[in-house]
Each structure stands twice: as C-alpha cells, then as structure tokens.
Amino acid sequence: MTSGIGAAEPMQTTRAAIGDSDPDGADRYNYAYLDEQTKRMIRRCLLKALAVPGYQVPFGSREMPLPYGWGTGGIQVTASIIGPDDVLKVIDQGADDTTNAVSIRRFFARVAAVETTEATAEATVIQTRHRIPEQPLREGQILVYQVPQPEPLRKLEPREGETRKMHAYAEYGLMHVRLYEDIARFGRIATTYSYPVMVNGRHVMSPTPIPKFDNPKMGGNPAVQLFGAGREKRIYAVPPYTDVRSLDFEDHPFAIQRWDECCALCGAGDSYLDEVILDDRGGRMFVCSDTDHCGTRRARGHTGRLGADAATAAAAKPRGAAR
C-alpha cells in the first residue's frame, strides 16, 4: 500500500509510462481508467466510510467497461486506490482463474501497469467477489469487496428513506425478524451467505454475499476492508482491528458451516469447500474454494484423498484443466 489514498500527484506522469502497444487505445485513458476528479471523489467517500465503520456513503458511481453485477463498485474502488507499486490479486468465489477474475486482473495490468499475482501473501490490493482468502491478511493489505446489494434491511423494508432512518436511529429489530423467520421455518438460522453483521457496535452491515464461514475473519482483521456497490452507488468500509459481530439469538448462537470431509486435493480440514460433481453416478468430491490456498498447500506436500493422482485431479477439476 505504498501509493494508496492521497497519491494523486504522480498519476499525471504515468500516462506515457503505460507503454501499451496500441497508441490510439489505452494511452487515451487516464491512469487506472478513471479520471483524477472521480478518483478523488471516491477517495473522499472511502475516508468517510473508514471514519464511520459500516455506514453506507453514497458516491457518484461511473459507467465502467463491464456490466452491473460483475464488480463495477469494486473495480472503481480498486481504481481509486491503486498505484504503480501495488501488487493486485483478484478472486472470484475464491478462484483466481475464473473469467471475471482474469478480466479484471488483465484490465488493471493494462490501464494501471500494476504487477498482478495469485498469491495472497504477495498482494497489496485484493479485489474479491464472495470470499475472504483463507490465509490471514496482514497490515498494509487492502481487501476490496464487490457488493451487489449494500442494504442489509432491503429485503424486509423496501423504502430507502425508511432504511436510512433505521440506520440513523440504530433501529435494528427488523434484522432479527429475518433470523426469526429462518428459525421458525427451518429450525435453525438457515442464512448461509450475506449474513448480517454489527460493525463497531453501531451499524448493521451486509458483508456482501460471502459465506458466513468468512464472517469471523472480518472482525479484528489487520487489513483494510473496503466495499463498493456500483449499481447501488454506495461505499462502506471496515477499518483494521474493528469489532465485527454476526447477529444471532441467545438460544440460537451464530455458527459457521462445517463439512464431514477434507479437501480432496490438499487435505485441508479448515477451509471453505466447494462440492465438485465427478460423474453421473453420484461421484463427488470437496475441494478448497480458495485456489491459491489449495495450491500452496499442495506445493508444500499436503495431499488429500484424490490429490495424489494428478491425472484424476486435473480431469476432475475443470479449473485446473483449463490452465
């Protein structure tokens, strides 16, 4: 994070340094695609969001060269904070190699001339959709979330004016009505993603559609967590080492998902697992959703049930086969 917020000055000179082979294309764009005034506006919103953890700050969202729902909010936040010295990692559902992640990474490599990586430890800025990396983050790293719906109360209260008042007056009883409905219907809190959290004891916040498995990682995290919702035009943030609690009932406490199996490739028993169908006869396996975590473990010699047979693994895992 050598060049994060407030490094507006040197940007003007880096235009020519992009060195793209197409002189009529990329060179016309400002550094990191957005113009400096827009980045400044977004940085101001980010500062405000960091000052009031969990509060949704409205911002003037711009059109980005990707459709709404693909990470327009996250990409604008990343564009505003990124500098030439940053190392960018982009993950989509934990994976580094899906279309969205690859496109966004290539976009910033082109317009911001940044180094990109798949290794969580090496990255300074990580843009994510729906996961927090398994490897604990450290001070100086920034995690940028792509947010489809920033308002946690929206499903129960459609009026924007009313939800703003509820946030302003900390009237959060309604959030528990949603959890009550879960228990009444399913016997337990069945919400598994977008599980509402209380930030800093004041604002109820949507953690974006991350699995509730990742909720405990948000609290007390040394990294800066920034949230951008492009379509809904909201930015919010969780500063480092902030208290983040998942809402629950006294007699139905918050609990994360558990699996009976370990990762079939790397044998990890403490990571978030995706189910992969192997054939049409009921064969299946569970693998880490965080591809970097899984790969790192395998490189260190950990193997799971199917991990030893590299051919099986490659055939079973389309993501691996595509590379």
């Binding site: 309604l174 009550y180 009444a184 009932f249 006294e250």
Partner: protein, 264 residues
C-alpha cells in the same frame, strides 16, 4: 347532575387547540380533550369529517398546524409529542403506543410469518431470545383466538378478520398504555365484527389500556367507548359520555347520525 370531579392528577394524553389544514381545507379545527389512563374515547363522524386526520395527528404521524399533543410518558411525565426528536417519537410509538390500522396491510408485514409479525416489536425493544419471543407470540395468538397451527403462515393467507386480530396482537404484545384504532372493524362482516368487538372489549378491560377509537359505526363506540366525541366538518360538535350522547343527542348532526342507524 353535577359535573364529574377530576381526581386523576395528570391525563395520559392532553390535546389542546389542535388544528390541521390542507390548503384551503381545515381538516381539524381547534380540538381539545383529555384522555385518562384506561379510558376509551370514541370519535365518530361522517366520511371526510377529519376523524382519521385527527388520529394521525394524535399518534405523531402528522404534525398539526397549531395546538399541542402532550403524552404522559412513564419516565418523564407530560411531554409535547411534537417537541420530541424523531427517534424519541419513534421509540414512543413502538413501546408505549399501538396503532391498529383500518387496513391490516398497512399495519402488518405481509411477507413475514404471523409469529414474526407479533415478535417484531419485542425484537425492536431488544429481546434477543428466540424461545422467549416464540412463547410470547404463541401466548398472544391464543389471546386473540388465532389457531396456533398457523403461527408460521404468512398473513396474506389469512382472512380479513384474522389479519385484523393479528394486527391487534402485534400491537399489544409490548404492553402499550395507549392504542390508536382507525376503524378496527371496517370491512368485516357483522358476525366477525361482533367477535372482534368482544375480543377488543375484553382486552381493553383486562389490560387497562387507554384507547382512541375512530369509527363511523355507532355500535362499535356503544360497546367500546366510555366517552364519545362527534366530529362534523373538522369540528367537535358534541362530546360526553357515550350513552348520554347516543341516547340524548343535542346537535342536529348527532341527531341525524343516531337516527340514521338501520334497525333490523
């Protein structure tokens, strides 16, 4: 007949000189009355006479143009409702007051189960124990004579009368001291009306809540209200004990109203 001696030290609700205008139309003109704890006051009048406007001014939903509405809170005594800050007013509305709307759709969350609807106010005042909320919801469904087997059903699958009873349970669960009711029996058939009135009368007497009931149905006020105010063109033209006003109406409009009731 001597005038009743005012022994109660402070009323629960004191309204003085309340006026509400909509452009050239004066919906309520200089209305004043006191409501004492446990008392039920009925407001009757024809359509467009300002009853509902008066009720929304009283229940802090519409700021009057002139006059004051004072409410005796548990902790602070008489306070001017419109001098409170908005969060204080909203807190008052969900702890000490209840509002029963004419249309249950305005007062219920139609996509939340019956139990959730009743439990919402408990959760809003900080109850975080599912078992406790559930037990209270069941208790209240029983009190308003709803089938416990329907506790997890959505209100939109309920009949009109059931929705209205659910709305009443939802409002009374936090033990309010004052309930505002706008046509609580409107749109229900007579046999359901009778049961609902019976239920309301029992609850009001049992819990000792004060109530302001707006209606155009004289049978409702005859059964529920201790005192009656008759509104006509935005003004209170007659007020007094319910039986007194209904049996011996003085104002021409009240006479018309009483004589218009169909006798079967």
């Amino acid at each position: 007949m001597t005038a009743p001696v005012r022994t109660a030290p402070t009323p629960l609700l004191r309204v003085s000189g309340l006026t509400k205008r909509f452009g050239p139309v004066t919906a309520c003109r200089s209305i004043s009355f006191d409501l004492h704890p446990g008392e039920v006051i009925g407001i009757v009048g024809e359509s467009g006479s300002g009853k509902s406007t008066l009720l929304s001014c009283l229940s802090a939903r519409q700021r009057p143009d002139a006059g004051t509405v004072e409410y005796a809170t548990r902790s602070r005594g008489l306070v001017d409702v419109y001098a409170l800050s908005e969060p204080e007013r909203r807190l008052l509305a969900r702890t000490e007051w209840g509002i029963v709307h004419q249309n249950p759709r305005d007062g219920l969350r139609m996509d939340v189960s019956a139990g959730g609807n009743v439990g919402e106010r408990l959760m809003a005042v900080g109850d975080r124990h599912y078992g406790h909320i559930r037990a209270k919801a069941e208790d209240w469904l029983r009190k308003v004579e709803l089938d416990l087997g329907r506790i997890d059903d959505l209100p939109r699958t309920f009949s009109g009368g059931m929705q209205q009873r659910l709305q009443i349970a939802r409002n009374l669960v936090t033990g309010p001291r004052l309930v505002f009711m706008d046509e609580p029996t409107g749109g229900l058939d007579v046999s359901v009306q009778a049961r609902l009135l019976d239920l309301l009368r029992g609850l009001v007497r049992e819990l000792g809540v004060a109530a302001v009931v707006v209606t155009h149905d004289l049978a409702v006020v005859r059964l529920l209200a201790d005192r009656l105010m008759v509104m006509w063109r935005g003004e209170v033209v007659e007020s007094g004990l319910t039986d007194q006003v209904l049996d011996d109406p003085h104002h021409p409009y009240t006479q018309l109203l009483v004589s218009s009731v169909l006798q079967v």
